[in-house]
């Protein structure tokens, strides 16, 4: 189910019902508030009014993170926090959204996160929050920091300009919801009950590694859920239940690669594989392979990276250059005639000279962004089984739509 609602967490600073006029001409059509006067007037105006902590039917609300590059505070200055490779660490809601959608595909996902205490009135953090949620089909419940909300309420021009930017960004995504019906393209499936924070972190870090993956809750595992995948990662440190194991072993026997975070007992390959890895023993199993760790893989970063290497970057669906800190999501229409690559750039400077190789055979590619919503044709360079596109300078989000 695709929701057409664009929700706003009503700011406490907006006490007068007349502030509802700020929503005129925007796509915001649902507010979450406990202010009875505002709620009454909103309902009269045809807006949906909900309790802030009660999700409406068909909606899952996640308490999310503030999306963006993580900063370490040192007194009055801020420094970028680094991840295991020295690259900037990014907080993102992409993986929780994907997990929530995989667990309950019939629901729309909303993210409820307050913005940072004071955004300084800039639109940038809001654009990132909206885009990071929208990348995989969720909606951020637009929430304003108090100083900005007050300034908007007082009609200050700079604040109104930020408000306009926030609502126009939200409008862009509201009118492009057809992409939410696309299915993820993936080389690797991640199968688990996702009961532990370690498995969540694996999802997070596989996202950060740029791998295109499919989240498969083990309770929903069917043979069809593994269709088209090259590999499956079982990230739990406890082996899954026997029926799940059996299904995953079937996948490997039929030609896939099964990567386990912990050794499974009684799994014996038919022959050693030529593949070598410092932390995994790879053995042939039927027509495929199984990679069993020499020790349980307790470091989610190492596991996520090793999974990418075991699958091999040869099979990368997306390869980026000059993109910086980014999340990307590659999906296809059900008839596979159209596809989209959506990108969120977390830097507050426009990404320039970004090049992208997309695996697949496509004839045309167009790009749109919240700042330039009309699709513009991109030059494509045909490669072997892929195309390369060169992006113009883009701010926080861009969608490339492809036709086969």
């Amino acid at each position: 189910m695709i929701s057409d609602r664009t929700p706003l967490l009503w700011p406490e600073a907006w006490k007068a019902p007349t502030t509802l006029d700020l929503l005129n001409g925007t796509v915001i059509n649902c507010i979450a508030t406990t202010n009875k006067a505002v709620a009454a007037r909103a309902a009269e105006s045809g807006l949906q009014v909900i309790e802030p902590h009660v999700p409406p039917p068909g909606v899952s609300i996640l308490e999310g993170a503030i999306a963006g590059i993580k900063l370490d505070r040192f007194g009055s200055s801020a420094a970028v926090s680094a991840g295991p490779t020295g690259e900037p660490w990014v907080n993102s809601n992409v993986w929780p959204v994907r997990l929530a959608r995989a667990r309950k595909p019939e629901n729309t996902v909303w993210i409820r996160t307050q913005p940072p205490a004071n955004t300084g009135g800039a639109a940038f953090p809001y654009s990132v929050m909206i885009a990071d949620s929208a990348l995989t089909g969720a909606k951020w419940m637009i929430a304003l920091d108090d100083p900005l909300a007050r300034a908007i309420g007082e009609g200050k021009p700079a604040a109104l300009a930020t408000w306009k930017k926030i609502t126009s960004t939200a409008a862009y995504f509201a009118y492009r919801s057809h992409l939410n019906g696309y299915e993820p393209e993936a080389v690797i499936g991640i199968v688990s009950d996702f009961a532990t924070s370690s498995e969540h972190e694996v999802l997070n870090l596989v996202t950060r590694s740029g791998q295109q993956y499919r989240v498969i809750p083990q309770e929903r595992l069917t043979p069809m859920s593994l269709a088209g995948l090259r590999a499956v990662l079982a990230p739990a440190l406890e082996p899954p239940p026997a029926p799940v194991q059996a299904r995953l072993l079937e996948f490997a026997t039929a030609g896939g690669l099964l990567i386990n975070a912990a050794p499974w007992a009684d799994v014996h390959g038919s022959a050693p594989s030529k593949e070598t890895h410092p932390r995994f023993t790879v053995v042939a199993l039927g027509q495929g392979m199984i990679a069993q760790p020499k020790q349980p893989m307790r470091d989610p970063y190492v596991l996520a990276n090793d999974a990418a290497i075991l699958v091999s970057h040869r099979h990368d669906l997306l390869r980026f250059w000059n993109a910086g800190a980014i999340s990307a999501y590659y999906s296809s229409s059900p008839d596979r005639q159209r596809a989209a690559v959506q990108m969120v750039f977390y830097s507050n400077r426009p990404a320039e000279d970004v090049a992208l190789r997309i695996a697949g055979n496509y004839r045309t590619a167009t790009i749109s962004t919240p700042d330039a919503p009309a699709p513009a044709r991109l030059q494509t360079e045909q490669q072997d089984g892929a195309i390369e596109v060169h992006l113009p300078a883009v701010a926080q989000y861009a969608a490339i739509e492809l036709e086969a």
Binding site: P84, T85, G86, P278, N305, I309, S312, H313, R314, D316, R319, F320, W321, N322, A323, D353, A355, R357, E388, H390
Partner: protein, 397 residues
Amino acid sequence: MYACQYTRRKWLKAAAATTAWMGSSGFSPAAAAPATTVSVARCPDYGPDLVPTLDRMFDQLGGLGRLVAGKTVAAKINLTGAPSYRLGYYPCEDTHYTHPKVIGAVCYLMARAGARRIRLLESPWSTADSVEEYLLQANWEPRDILNSAPNVEFENTNFLANAKKYSRLNVPHGGLMFPAFDLNHSYADCDVFVSLAKMKEHATAGVTLSMKNCFGMTPATIYGTGAGIDEPSILPKGGRTIVHAGNRQPSKSAPGELHPESPRVDYYRVPRTIVDLVSARPIDLAVVEAVRTMTGGEGPWVREKLTRVEPGVIVAGTNCVNVDAVCMSVMGFDPMADRGAPPFEVCDSTLRLAEDVGLGTRDLKRIEIAGARIEDVRFDFAGLRRQRRAAKKETAG
């Protein structure tokens, strides 16, 4: 941009101390430094003429067979920076990576000349993954190189890899910065060592040619940002801050600096470390390609006006200092330049330091050139550098 905190007085004092030490240790003066033949060739693209061009160049050097027949050859290639960095939209190999066609052609010719095993070495940025996986991320096809000849293989030398221990390579002249290095075994377990470099300017060292290419031999597990304090770290992380900045010593398991009181300035430290490295692991064959390359720096991250260019030239020889001297002249720079003159406006000349320790001469009058004349293949990096600096001055003014 790096802000130099080291005074000129301190710098000169340190440099004088080094010179005095070199004198007392009985070094030969530069005049005695070896001079060999250097081959220069025009090569306008990476097409079918590449193999015959390189073949001819190696013949001009006396033939590859005498060097590699029956031997294990290790070749250090240049894949500086992450594979996800490009200059504009250009592929890495068109600007700052040694081109895969050159790598493949050299492998082919070495195998044809009888090389028993060819090992391609690099310490890719901040990773212990295989070089093949690194290349795939740059949009290369590793099989094109692996299939260019029998028995070609890659090894990531940024960490211990499959060896049981690091190999200690001593600096025969005692060292300017380090007396010895602990390196991946590949640099010791070879009969012949080749530097397969790209011709570029360099933000810290002025130029990066066959000698500077070898800076990447140092494993980040010992000399990098995330190096272990007592022992090497298991996995490499970040760049070689320890060598650049001297903010700490390498892992204690490896030999420390000779002169911890020396300047903590990369313009001083990097050229000396390079000389120590190429002394510890001598280069038997240097090939520097600039069929396509870039001006302004060594990679897209340098904050300069960077331009992709097509000089269409390759330089090769068996003495790395001689080769780098010829390359500098091809680039329009004076190989006899010292600190203060382009491209060494702020750094010491690696060539001068290498000559001083007797590795080879940089004096073009002593180097025999085979093949094309330098004047005929010159591509004016120096002129472009002057223009950039003048424009910068104008903007600043």
